[in-house]
């Protein structure tokens, strides 16, 4: 059972409300990366990526370390699992649900429009 630490949960959720930041976390979940790498991968300016990393860092979801001229980012120690577990599962559930709903909707459209004619609505 995961116990949520309420104090940081708001900050974590805010940090995770952004699709790029979620993508960054997923990426960092696989391997550490520099801000430059991440900016390139997400097709974003260095400044833009620095901002995102700043938000994630504040939420404790990411830690960064400067070695020479390169700032390397990696996933923070524990908070990621706490904060993402619920929201990520929630997202997976709705994603899977809606994929099935797409199928049901396609069937209904087929029924309404068997010849593929234009809808008259």
């Amino acid at each position: 059972m995961v116990q949520y630490t309420n104090v940081n949960l708001d900050v974590s959720f805010a940090a995770l409300a952004d699709v790029t930041r979620r993508g960054v976390l997923e990426r960092l979940g696989r391997a550490e990366a520099s801000i430059t790498d991440l900016a390139e991968r997400f097709n974003m300016s260095l400044t833009g990526m620095k901002k995102h990393i700043g938000v994630l860092e504040q939420a404790g979801l990411v830690i960064t370390q400067k070695v020479g001229r390169v700032r390397t980012c990696k996933v923070g120690p524990h908070r990621l699992e706490e904060a993402t577990a619920w929201l990520e599962k929630y997202r997976q559930l709705w994603s899977a649900r809606f994929d099935e709903l797409d199928r049901v909707i396609e069937d209904l459209k087929e029924r309404d429009n068997p010849d593929g004619l234009k809808n008259r609505e």
């Binding site: 995961v2 949520y4 309420n6 949960l9 708001d10 959720f13 805010a14 995770l16 409300a17 699709v19 993508g23 976390l25 997923e26 979940g29 993402t84 619920w86 929201l87 990520e88 599962k89 929630y90 997202r91 997976q92 559930l93 709705w94 994603s95 899977a96 649900r97 809606f98 994929d99 099935e100 709903l101 797409d102 199928r103 049901v104 909707i105 209904l108 459209k109 309404d112 809808n119 609505e121």
Partner: protein
């Protein structure tokens, strides 16, 4: 994270958005390639609803699904594992809006509002869940999510049995 989430970032699909709007609210939105009346139908006819509410891809199923979709009408869903979900419809506006209560959690139950917003033959669907308190929202590991947890656990066990090893530590 793991490979389960990977295909969700595919840009070709209509994008799902999940947001925590406030301490007590979650909002899920996604566009569907059909007019609102069709999407609404899929939400309000039990024999259709049960085809997608518990995604087969997650190995889940509904044992039964009763829905009386009108103001004051009730619904009751029984999951394959016996968990029950029930509540009442507070608002039903055809092709536009459905609001229902989630009473299985008692006082901590949320109110779900689904809106169907048609534009150019497509429908922007929004599912809004409002919890009575921040604590209830954060403890909302109830319901389908618990069932899903269980499914994942079963899947994990199954994979272990098969001798497949994940990459997670």
């Amino acid at each position: 994270m793991d490979s389960r989430t990977e295909n969700e970032s595919t840009p070709m699909k209509n994008r799902l958005s999940v947001e925590r709007k406030s301490e007590r609210e979650f909002v899920v939105t996604r566009t569907f390639d059909a007019p609102a009346r069709i999407v609404f139908e899929a939400w309000t006819r039990p024999e259709l609803f049960r085809q997608w509410w518990l995604p087969k891809s997650m190995g889940m199923s509904l044992r039964s699904c009763e829905m009386d979709v009108r103001v004051g009408g009730g619904y009751r869903l029984v999951f394959g594992n016996g968990m029950e979900f029930f509540g009442k419809y507070l608002e039903v506006i055809p092709h536009s809006r459905i609001v229902w209560t989630n009473d299985e959690a008692g006082d901590a139950g949320s109110v779900t509002t689904v809106t169907f917003d048609e534009k150019g033959g497509k429908t922007l669907l929004s599912v809004h869940e409002l919890y009575p308190t921040k604590e209830a929202a954060e403890a909302a590991g109830t319901g389908a999510l618990d069932a899903m947890d269980e499914t994942f656990r079963q899947l994990d066990d199954f994979l272990v049995t098969l001798g497949a090893r994940g990459e997670r530590p």
